[in-house]
Subunit: 346 residues, 4 copies
Amino acid sequence: MKGVKVGIVGASGYSGAVCAAILARHPKVELVFATSDKAAGEPLAPRLGLTDDACKLQLLQHEEAPRAAKDADVVVLATNAELSMGLAMKLAEKTRVLDLSGAFRLDAASYPKWYGFEHRAAPALDDAFYGLPDLFGAPPKAANIVANPGCYATAALLAIAPLFRDELAFSDRVIIDGKSGASGAGRKSTEAYSFVELAEDVRAYRVGAHQHTPEIARHLHRYVHGVRPRVTFAPHLLPLRRGLIVTAYMTARDSATTESVQASLAASYEGAPFVRVLPVDEVSAHGVAGTPFAHVGATVVDGTIISICAIDNLMKGAASQAVQNLNLWFGFKERAGLDSLPRFAP
Amino acid sequence: MKGVKVGIVGASGYSGAVCAAILARHPKVELVFATSDKAAGEPLAPRLGLTDDACKLQLLQHEEAPRAAKDADVVVLATNAELSMGLAMKLAEKTRVLDLSGAFRLDAASYPKWYGFEHRAAPALDDAFYGLPDLFGAPPKAANIVANPGCYATAALLAIAPLFRDELAFSDRVIIDGKSGASGAGRKSTEAYSFVELAEDVRAYRVGAHQHTPEIARHLHRYVHGVRPRVTFAPHLLPLRRGLIVTAYMTARDSATTESVQASLAASYEGAPFVRVLPVDEVSAHGVAGTPFAHVGATVVDGTIISICAIDNLMKGAASQAVQNLNLWFGFKERAGLDSLPRFAP
Amino acid sequence: MKGVKVGIVGASGYSGAVCAAILARHPKVELVFATSDKAAGEPLAPRLGLTDDACKLQLLQHEEAPRAAKDADVVVLATNAELSMGLAMKLAEKTRVLDLSGAFRLDAASYPKWYGFEHRAAPALDDAFYGLPDLFGAPPKAANIVANPGCYATAALLAIAPLFRDELAFSDRVIIDGKSGASGAGRKSTEAYSFVELAEDVRAYRVGAHQHTPEIARHLHRYVHGVRPRVTFAPHLLPLRRGLIVTAYMTARDSATTESVQASLAASYEGAPFVRVLPVDEVSAHGVAGTPFAHVGATVVDGTIISICAIDNLMKGAASQAVQNLNLWFGFKERAGLDSLPRFAP
Amino acid sequence: MKGVKVGIVGASGYSGAVCAAILARHPKVELVFATSDKAAGEPLAPRLGLTDDACKLQLLQHEEAPRAAKDADVVVLATNAELSMGLAMKLAEKTRVLDLSGAFRLDAASYPKWYGFEHRAAPALDDAFYGLPDLFGAPPKAANIVANPGCYATAALLAIAPLFRDELAFSDRVIIDGKSGASGAGRKSTEAYSFVELAEDVRAYRVGAHQHTPEIARHLHRYVHGVRPRVTFAPHLLPLRRGLIVTAYMTARDSATTESVQASLAASYEGAPFVRVLPVDEVSAHGVAGTPFAHVGATVVDGTIISICAIDNLMKGAASQAVQNLNLWFGFKERAGLDSLPRFAP
């Protein structure tokens, strides 16, 4: 099987750098260019933990991406949503686009409210494939744009979608308490994200206003037809560098027991190489740190289903899920390039 | 006003040490003895950050407490629940008891299930006063035992009780997502609590089985007569040394708006010197670190009330609340000995 | 004994806030004003962990300081060195100045090289008293300016000065390996000080170029007449919020043994209420966290004296040492206002 | 080129687990067995971040190692020194041994003092090859035992050996200030290593008594014939999970300048794929986290050479250096199996 030529825009951000590190070691991928406005001109190898001869690319400016993209079969965008929208419009005629931002995850009408800009690429949006393979399978070959899911949305959907589909949860509402480390917000130069302020702290932020709320609702509703639970989402910032868990609370139907909810999860993810179902108390950020895995577990307590999912926000929440999508899109083995990653822990 | 002579059992545990540090500086308190099985014989001053002449006590063995208690007006117990139950039975005839454990917070029937032992002091249990002054006021002078609330129970009750009493929340159920640092579990010598394992981790534990669940339910139901919402509680362990927040989710009645829930909290805690009501996004572990304060804030999102409370688990969740109870019980100013504590942060 | 009226400039920086918190609780101090350009107009009480009625001050702008200073007996400057130099010139005719910056610690000729500006207040500089009371005693009543030592300089001088004076160390050179947490650099809004970048990191910075190098040398040479060891200083940044240790290495004379170096330290600090001499392996950041203490210990290994000192960089390294100086300057008890601080740990 | 069959004893300790993770992905290695007394019977794959079909081994008991070793070309020992000594004696007749402990790094006479046991395998000790390839090259094919260096010794020798050999440093003494994260001590179940006690702390330990002191001295003296500087070593424990730096101080000869010391390091490590020479302020734990690299840099300040080396204590300080040795011993490319590791940071 032939390999694929990949370019990446935004290779010095946290998600982009991890994605570039995976791609540079991927047996089916040739990394043909990488951009970073901050570090343009610098060699890429040291940023990826590679010896100098293992990767000879120099970082380009973002604006050089469209020209460089001529040599690429697919371009990965690790840029913010508004920039991704604009780049995708320029690139999508020349090459395929795998976008890590939120630019292609919602319907057009939602962008002004949740992202603060008008979406100017509505047709592309309609055709974009939402790449959460454990629920929605492989991107179709014909797709031009794959939207890589948000970190919270990935964990939340993995924790709750099967339980609604198998009618174990009432469709009244689902409460999602999210907890994430600081790298989820990207590189930060603000006092609030400084070590002194963030260590030993925990707080909620954007309660009811986080842009992953409509993403969770939209794709849950696509996956579980007819069911329209209200989605309430409160994210919290923790003093972790990497790692994310969501704890989801649903009203249990009579059929829901700890056994039946675990069985539902296990059946749903039987063929998913990167989802493991564990007892709820064994799901942890530590267990998935640095890996492409999601760990999921659920239990029923006094009429409430509690379902928890842990991921590494930069891996299954961004970079490794992007590569998982790329593998499926181009017909490689789902885990190609992803077995090579050791566990970060300790 | 005359002062009070206080002894403390368990002065080298985290809560006990912080409590002893406050008491040793309290203008109305004479600390007359302190015990610690681990450190018996050692001087107390260095453990409290005091110069040697500011406190001349040496730590005694626990078993010396009943004899030493003859000189005390009140004994603070910072021991585990089963040990506290036994000590309280021996001490309560000689002196008053202020207990930081769970030994006097539930009805007797709940102990085998939630604490794993039979309660052998049922009459004392019935008479014990549950000391959460911001909701239940001052301990009566005649009380022999004051039960200092659990850390999670303190934060949860402060976040939710007014909202049920003011009929802003439906009485179907309340979901409490708790998040606490490691000192809440006391001094630990297990691999799971080691720095390497706990840093960069977050996980749920004792989901649906934490002993603060019946404590929250019992005292919520006493406070809000007739209302019996189901209490679902999932605590999580975070890589913090100190600090705790609870995020509580309730079904909003029509009368509930962000304004009305904040007004309910503000009215409830108007006279409470150590409770501050803030916008929900400004409630943080950092904001209360090292202080006797609870910060509370609530909002209404899409039919759900989200109410958050942050405390320092060793202060308002244990030691400073004990001193607050002591002050009210003995007729001192509520904040006596508690203004002397600076903010820990940064 | 009459009390003293104190103003503070820079009360929202880390050192300034801790200093204000101590002063606001000090039995002999009336805090008459506080400034903060960032937070001018806001009430001071919540920043100090005080209830609203315990402190009614509102923060002023820095530029209001000279006018407000008319009511003050002494003004504490918690500003950067260049700003302190300017403010001190304006204030010193009206009131005494206690400066936490480096503006009055060196001779004038050293400022361009080490601080990057010309010192325009040379006469004041000559008269300023270097306030390290454990070595240099109380500021004279007549002093107009007290220069509070730098955090590294405090720890380094406490670790080494007695050993040179008692001729236990050869006067060839002293190597000082410094290790400090992030709050030593003040409030930071740079990526390098972000949680993600600083957690799990350790690195040297300003090797051989840190401005505390000439401060250590100058005051060591004043303390130990005739001895001019070269001072080599390499500071390191650690993932701590607060806390600082220095490990100093000196060439041992024949008279130096672990017993004799410990005896030298013990004799030097016999009357110093805030210096404790401990075995070298028991000196730790944890042991002094949140306290006004310095812990010191030394040993001799194979011809080298290793002497270690730990302090809390915001307390003995800044705020509590300032209050210690103020107490001695105005004739209060050395520990006035400083016993009220509990240990931060855990 | 034919591959090699490898077994590993102690695959659930921190170093052993990282080593097993690398070996399980190594293109030239077949992992044939792994042992762990604690986790015997459990599958190995989840511990290595691998999907279940990528590694089918179950963990054995240590005592099964000699039998299992019949199928192995080499056995990696990730056990403590005394256990390694015993196992090596049993295994060395059947197979080659690559030992991560200190059992084969010193001369026999040093063991009672530094390791607390008599060495009973003196002939094997004499023949063991000290595997620090960047200084000593490839293990000879005929070697039966390769002793993998200690973490501190690796970093210290890389920082100082070239500077003594090139006669830039006087041979009087070298002072080595070591700073390491907690995983260097292995899995810990003591209060001192608990999160609450270790976070926000820094302290020296085993000052002058750490077992890497004679290891540094012995191999420095082998590398730099005739030169016998005294080695003074003070290690410090930091609140990091992984990461280690040493800051070494040497007396500069006249020929030593920042340029000449950097040139000496650069020339020494020109062919070393995993050593990078950087300006001294750019050497950091963060820069090498999760990688097989050592970063080294030196400067000259006022007559003192300051040379700093950073490594990941579990990688270049243990597991990846073991694989580097294995590669060279068996004639593979030096970086085989080691390019597959991404950078851990952030």
